[in-house]
């Protein structure tokens, strides 16, 4: 499995997952993927909404998971397009 550049946003409430993701995605090369791991369920709709505000990135995937502490996670994969 490819190891993506990852933002650990676990335990963070909005707006921090998106503030952090924005900072990172602007720093990675075009074409690469950024993985954001969040625990805030509100991040699912918020990432969808955020991605629509920009033509520079796209949302590749969103899925639920669980971290090693048993917390429910929401994993967002973003690709920088431009």
């Amino acid at each position: 499995m490819a190891e993506y550049r990852t933002v650990d946003a676990r335990g963070l409430k909005c707006p921090m997952p998106i503030v952090k993701a924005k900072k990172e995605i602007d720093a990675i090369p075009v074409g690469e993927i950024l993985k954001v791991v969040a625990t805030d369920p509100g991040s699912v709709l918020d990432f969808q909404g955020w991605i629509k505000t920009s033509t520079s990135y796209e949302l590749v995937n969103q899925e639920e998971g669980q971290d090693e502490q048993g917390r429910k996670t929401f994993v967002h994969l973003l690709r920088r397009k431009a």
Binding site: K13, P15, V19, G42, Q48, G49, W50, T53
Partner: protein, 380 residues
Amino acid sequence: MTELAAPDLYQRLAAETPPRILDVRNAEEFARWRVEGPRPVDVLNVPYFEFVEREEASVRKVTDWLGGRAGDLVVVCAEGGSSVYVAELLLARGLAAANLTGGMVAWGLGTTVRPVSASGPARLWQVLRFGRGCLSYVVARGQDAVVVDPHRGTDVYRGLLDRESLRLRGVFDTHLHADHVSGGPALAREGGVAYHASQRDFEGASVPVEDLPDGQPIRIGKLDVLPIVSLSTPGHTPGSTSLLVGDGFLLTGDTLFVDDVGRPDLGGQAAAWARDLHRTLHERLRSLRDAVVVLPAHASTVALAGPLGVVAGTLGDLRQRNQAMRLDLDAFVREAEHAAGSAPAEYARIRAINLGRETPAETELTELELGKNQCALSRR
């Protein structure tokens, strides 16, 4: 930055020049549920992530909307974090804005307390949970008091009892609630008093329930400490019970609202329960005078609150103006059948919680109760 608690914001929305609201949640959450006040609220939705992505254009959206008009601005989000972020951005650009502390989660739990009756056979207060349109009551005579239809934020009742030096003698639920988690069992347990509700709704419950028999004066132990008579008023649920206080106030639960009636379709037997409810409204309540004041458990909109902030109506007015109450039996049953199937998915889980069968964590309770109640027949 100015922090504004939910009850203070609600208070200010009743003022002559209410503050404007900038709601920074995503469009879906905004469409589902938003801040409402006794007067129309001027509100703009610009999600916080638009400020993250293009700060300048987003701030301009806000200043264009304000158009130099006077008045305060309050920023609102889901839990009170993103709204601080946006309010700080605005402040850095010279635009002062207050933050709704705790966001919509706090808004959904916020309450106001209004006296309904200060004298007569009983004193009565109405507690309005304004974000969800839920109403509950404290009824007192002398130093004895009971609480009716409390929601899970039980501090407001304990605070009122303390302030008025009242002794809690019992807790009542007019029916098994499906739209919100009851505070009744917890309040009764903590106060060492009985929790009263109809056995017909609470059969198989894991919480101890004292039955509410039809047509009986309420007794606490051997005392009839309060002038309250229970009236079986089935239809919204089979065990729905109204409480007649003195002969002047009728606490109707979800049987009868000021501008609507409770939904009889939530139990999967829309036609049968609708017939029960129609009989309740037109036969059971027939002997009650027009002057009796109806105090319901829900308001479809807080705009129904009168000048004193109380949601109430006389039976006479309701008999004239409440459209659902004026439907004949056939039309009433058709309306209920039409409503059937549109109940929110979380209602089954909320019922299980209110029966004491499940005890979820606080975060899930918040999630289950997001949005306004959908208990009224024609406004679902």
